[in-house]
């Protein structure tokens, strides 16, 4: 249930900029990682660093590390498995992930 606040008109406060509906980057990120039932896992031994998975991830959840390998951010990976399907050398494995709620 959402919070209910009853305020007399004379006691309404000014909230300054916080009263304007805008959002600035850098706030708390919703953990959409807990949506998934399967998660992609990168096998670095097979990976040829082509960066196709990085390009195709709709969530921008795959970053490239210093050595050029893709790294998946499981906090926001929804488990769509586009990376798994499109890896040209099948270096990404699909693993069951039914307990994603531990990320919350």
């Amino acid at each position: 249930m959402s919070e209910v606040k009853i305020v007399d008109e004379k006691k309404l406060k000014d909230h300054g900029l916080k009263g304007i509906p805008f959002a600035r980057f850098g706030g708390k990120i919703p953990k959409t990682g807990d949506w998934r039932t399967f998660k992609p896992v990168i096998n670095k031994k097979k990976c040829i660093k082509c960066h196709t998975c990085w390009l195709l991830c709709p969530e921008a959840a795959i970053k490239i590390d210093k050595k050029g390998y893709p790294k998946i951010d499981y906090h926001v990976c929804k488990g769509c498995l586009i990376c798994f399907k499109n890896c040209p050398v099948r270096a990404i494995e699909k693993k069951e992930d039914l307990h994603a709620e531990h990320l919350r």
């Binding site: 706030g27 906090h75 399907k85 499109n86």
Partner: protein, 311 residues
Amino acid sequence: MVEKSKKPEKRIGIKDLPKEDLLIGGPPTCAGCGAELGQKLVLKALGKKTIIINTSGCMTLTPIYPFTPFKVPWVHVAIETGGSAATGILMGLRAQKKDKNVNIVVYAGDGASYDVGFESLSGMAARRENVIYICYNNSSFGNTGFQWSTSTPTGSMTTTTPPGKKQPIGNIMPRKNLAKIMAAHDIPYVATAAIGYPLDFINKLRKASEIRGPKFIDLLTTCPTGWGTDPSESIEINQLMVQAGLWPVYEYENKELKITIEPKFIPVERALLRQRRFKHLKKEHIKKIQEMVNKEWKLIRQGKYMEVEMY
């Protein structure tokens, strides 16, 4: 004779792209959303000095107060204000002399571009505003649950054109071809693209950003929820749609049409019957759609695709 796929100069490859993303994950969009991927690619191609103008639709819910995934300015006004809000922002920046090298991009859905926002898109193009207008096309009013829009192709099921005894084909109307309509506005750059060919899309964006004037790109984005496909197949299904000839991928500038992804012309049912929205189609419907595709490509090959009949 129309030129077939010719590689544009300075083609960008994956390794040429900036590694940093200008947006992050976290929005409550569907898993495997083609439009969200498109949004990422737009920012990948255009860089930090980009302002995204959104119109009410699936992508409106990418930021949800107080969270926003964007590291660039993002503005939402109303569903049909893509072109007009972009004009306003351009006016304001120009008045303050802050518009140099800033990409003003409208990322609007097909419902908001083909239908309700067409007036403002047309006005923006007719006034020759320096705006890149990208229509992310899932061929429906997606955010409200997949209803018919004028971009819905023949044969598609939508919740407002459901197949039934009286109308077994589902949607009987042909889709509007917005890219052709925008070309008829005589704007400097019109293109179609598909999320299944991300580098082609990025190259077109880079090209558009260097042209002055209104630019229009119609981007076919897979909607796994609406089209009825597995989220992991979003790229594959999109590629099949292009390869069947159902979505010609081209660019049109200086009155010259260039096909940038040459399709192999696989039979249309290979692309259609994998999507739940077309599963109800009978043999005669598929034949009709194949004929429509053949006719469209005949016009393309004859160089008559962009012709508008003049008195």
